[in-house]
Symmetry: C2
Subunit: 160 residues, 2 copies
């Protein structure tokens, strides 16, 4: 604690107040993803990114998305998604089918088993999201958080 007063910007930084906020963001997101990952892995055998892949597929028409759309939706590199989908495919939660319109493309389809796994995992995950985030904030605080982050990711809900 001596160093907060001592030298907040011997390293070139933000204002002291901004720095406090920024630290809270880093720390909070780290804690949050840590808690969510643990819960999912423990109770459902899914990583957080696997869960998110399944969620996007569950919402897509025919539970199908092209690899590149899916990659963009979950903010993964194409390579990362290829590997992740490969693992999900081996577990039977997802299947790959060629894409009719574009012969380079690959459609990723969620299987019934994949949907069942997601359905089983969701309630516990939602409970954890509430416990770690939603229930710790007032409605107004949560709204403000969402609004701020929407400005950081300038396409949270644009759709097609």
């Amino acid at each position: 604690m001596t160093q907060a007063e001592r030298e907040p910007d011997d390293v070139l930084w933000l204002s002291a107040e901004q720095q406090r906020h920024w630290r809270a963001v880093i720390l909070g997101t780290a804690r949050l993803t840590e808690a969510l990952s643990r819960q999912l892995e423990r109770d459902a055998g899914l990583s957080l990114s696997e869960y998110e892949i399944l969620v996007r597929l569950s919402e897509a028409a025919d539970r199908t998305l092209r690899m590149s759309e899916l990659a963009a939706a979950v903010v993964h590199s194409r390579s990362r998604l290829t590997h992740a989908v490969g693992r999900l495919e081996q577990r039977g939660l997802v299947a790959r089918r060629p894409c009719p319109e574009d012969r380079r493309g690959v459609n990723c389809v969620m299987t019934d088993e994949g949907y069942a796994v997601l359905e089983a995992a969701a309630p516990g995950h939602v409970r954890e999201v509430r416990a770690q985030l939603v229930d710790r904030l007032t409605d107004e605080e949560f709204r403000a958080l969402g609004a701020a982050m929407a400005k950081v990711a300038p396409d949270a809900e644009p759709g097609a």
Copy 2:
């Protein structure tokens, strides 16, 4: 986009509005860490977690922290920190010394070279934090973001 109307909670979920906010949080943090990681790796040859380790050390008395304190500060498992510090040590940015008070303990000390690397990396990193986050928000929005995340990580600034 047909599915947003179709079934927002066939899988058990939050209110539609809460869900939008939550999605923004996920998407925003993913984009943000992605951008910050890329910038650091590209311009300074550091991962985001290496950078954070160096920052904490730079602020500590004698630029020294025990492994477990450092692990808690950056929200890493002890194992993860051991590996990460091992790599930083091989690059000469950090050194390990036995801890006098507790012979189980290990002190991690930042070297002058480590400090120099951090000093060189910091301005670009701060620029990126501003570009991706601070400059996209009003002061009030940023303050609200920090306040919300501080409630999620209930010890952002308690100190010793």
